[in-house]
Subunit: 119 residues, 2 copies
């Protein structure tokens, strides 16, 4: 029940593509992540995923189009939809998604992060 | 799958204590609300509720203490915990909670809002 200050939490890490858990509710988790460069194509078979841009600009690629999400905007990627986040410069995002969500979705590779830290 | 700009959505309404739905995922809803003045004491028996302050300062009262949530901060009120939001000046918040959540929780009164608008 302690409040969470996002800037303070973001100051605690600097690596990219390694989400941290900052809140849990109703089986969902709130995560913070810093993104830079291109991620891998993946989808989540069972989970819808919300990306809220706190700082910077996120390019979300789909197989048939792309969208650019600016500060103060969010996007919901529905389950089953292949996507690839791209950050030309560093982006800070807040994620809302089920606790079961794996960052690389249906793929497992060197970008996969499990047992995420709670900060 | 269209992105949501929070400032643009907030510009679409001005009344207080009347949340609007701006996103849905995994049985949860993302809502925006403007708050001013005192709300009613209530609790949600089955739902945890996240308040993220977009603009202004929110005072969250519990029966035994209170907390002030500033811009860029969020708080999660766990299910079963009585709370009363108070906004001395207008506050804009983003809420994240199950689709089943009623704004007045276990109470029903003139502040209750049902069939919320999607904007």
């Amino acid at each position: 029940m302690k409040k969470v200050n996002l800037k303070e939490k973001l100051s605690k890490f600097s690596d990219h593509w390694n989400p941290r858990i900052v809140g849990e509710l109703n089986g969902q988790q709130v995560k913070l992540a810093k993104l830079k460069g291109e991620f891998v194509w993946h989808k989540h078979d069972e989970e819808d995923e919300l990306f809220y841009v706190l700082k910077g600009r996120l390019r979300m690629m789909y197989r048939d189009r792309e969208e650019t999400i600016e500060e103060g905007e969010f996007i919901i990627v529905p389950r089953g939809v292949e996507h690839k986040p791209v950050a030309e410069k560093e982006v800070s995002v807040m994620l809302f998604e089920p606790a079961s969500t794996l960052n690389t979705g249906n793929t497992q590779n060197e970008r996969t992060r499990e047992d995420l830290d709670r900060i």
